[in-house]
Amino acid sequence: MTAPATLPEVAVSAEPPVHKPSLKKRLVPYWLLLPGILWLVVFFVLPMVYQASTSVQTGSLEEGFKVTWHFQTYWDAFTEYYPQFLRSLLYAGTATALCLLLGYPLAYLIAFKAGRWRNLLLVLVIAPFFTSFLIRTLAWKTILADGGPVVGVLNTVGFLDVTSWLGMTEGDRVLATPLAVVCGLTYNFLPFMILPLYTSLERIDTRLHEAAGDLYARPATVFRKVTFPLSMPGVVSGTLLTFIPASGDYVNAELLGSTDTRMIGNVIQSQYLRILDYPTAAALSFILMAIVLVMVTIYIRRAGTEDLV
């Protein structure tokens, strides 16, 4: 970000030669940018400012709200709802890890082993984007239904004993437990993990695999030393694209969970739309944003990738 000031000059020479631009020509990029940037400033930046002001207001719905610089709201909101914050991060983190674990083999399969099936597999990964995710999430109610085949099998193989011990299920139910919510989150955000993984895997020159094999590396070593490191940009953007939306989600917790699995998104939603306590809702949403931005920044630094998009 803070490159020496001379660096852009060098970059310019690689661009198509620009011959003495007139003022009119120099203004072209600004005219191109203006409408879109204006849209983002008015409907993205300005709303943040309004929300910031809402978060330090006091008052009630009947008497109206006034800006009183009441920062106490932040502290009260955090101390009251920290379990939901922790739960959101825990669920989103678990779902992200599961997405990586489940998504990697499929992305690998499509990139290297699918052959002429590649396009069909990609379509099957993308197609859910075009079908309402709410309908598909409701379908999980049927799949995980009490006494249904899935729960029966999980119970028989002793899986539910393990998850009960971990506190993720209760008895022989899956629906309305943390496991159901994490399952829904994993399912909903899996394509956001697979696509970046696939893009970065596809770019890898397969001759590198052959070279590693020629140097007597076993397949597992090839993966560990060549494939995985080269797929890191995909891993980083995939985990971000999964974790960020999952941490603010309230749909899965609402449809597949219970009151014990409420995430911070559920709290913000009900504060804004049902309880109409706007200052608390605004403060909660800023705390969530701050937590996510800090975590993302640290993560990007540690992963060492700057070219994300």
């Binding site: 970059a11 310019v12 661009e15 072209v28 990029p29 600004y30 940018l33 409408p35 879109g36 940037i37 849209w39 983002l40 409907f43 993205f44 300005l46 709303p47 943040m48 309004y50 809402t54 998504g103 083999p105 499929l106 690998y108 399969l109 082993k113 069909l120 597999l121 379509v123 099957l124 990964v125 993308i126 197609a127 859910p128 984007f129 075009f130 079908t131 309402s132 995710f133 709410l134 309908i135 409701l138 379908a139 049927t142 799949i143 697979i194 941490s247 603010g248 309230y250 749909v251 449809l255 998104g265 913000i268 939603q269 739309l273 605004a282 949403s285 969530l288 944003m289 996510v292 931005l293």
Partner: protein
Amino acid sequence: MKSATTWLRRNLVVIAGLGTLAYLILPNVVVTVFSFNNPTGRFNYAWQEFSLDAWKDPCGVADMCGSLSLSLQIALWATIGATVLGTAIAFAMVRYRFRGRGAVNSLIFLPMAMPEIVMAASLLALFLNMGIQLGFWTILIAHVMFCLSFVVAAVKARVLSMDPRLEEAARDLYAGPVQTFLRVTLPIAAPGIAAGALLSFALSFDDFIITNFNSGNTVTFPMFVWGSAQRGTPVQINVIGTAMFVIAVLVVLGGQMVANRRKKAQPK
């Protein structure tokens, strides 16, 4: 003779990958199967008996097809808006050097790096503070806003990989700037623009969180499904879900077949 374990080890990636694919497709299968269900009671969560009723009368549920057509309209306008604004930004970013590039870059990146609910809530704060009536226009404004960044990313990727010498060549052959843009630049950037537009359409059509905050009493299709999860889910919802899946697969496969044929037709 290969033992079973060697076979398993060799095909581990394939098995795991197909397992994940099954996990991804399973709900779609359930949605399809349950579109032929004849449920008792308000909810369509348990299999009762086979019936074609819902398929014969997909709009038989009050307000459902109205919400569907509203969602399609919003998605269409949001796609047009986001694609036009986003493509212009992408071209400015790749083709020009200007002051404030870094700031513009982070402004475009931020909406993608923020939980949707934060944007949803802040927009609501704006609309409430300004006393703007929630409805069609507030939904449309919000959708253009969050689709914009995705269009910029898609178009930028395509324009970046494009050879600038093609445009130089066009200029050397005395094509004016407008002609160069229309006959050289735009056709090459088209797949990126199409990808951005398709993504916008899907994101807008399917958006729930931002719409939930900014729709007021207006009911889009996702809002209808959400409400039905509380009131009772009609079978017709599964019919629409199945139809959307089939149409999506056909459209994407068809598009790929056209692209393949074009590639083959080109002399190497």
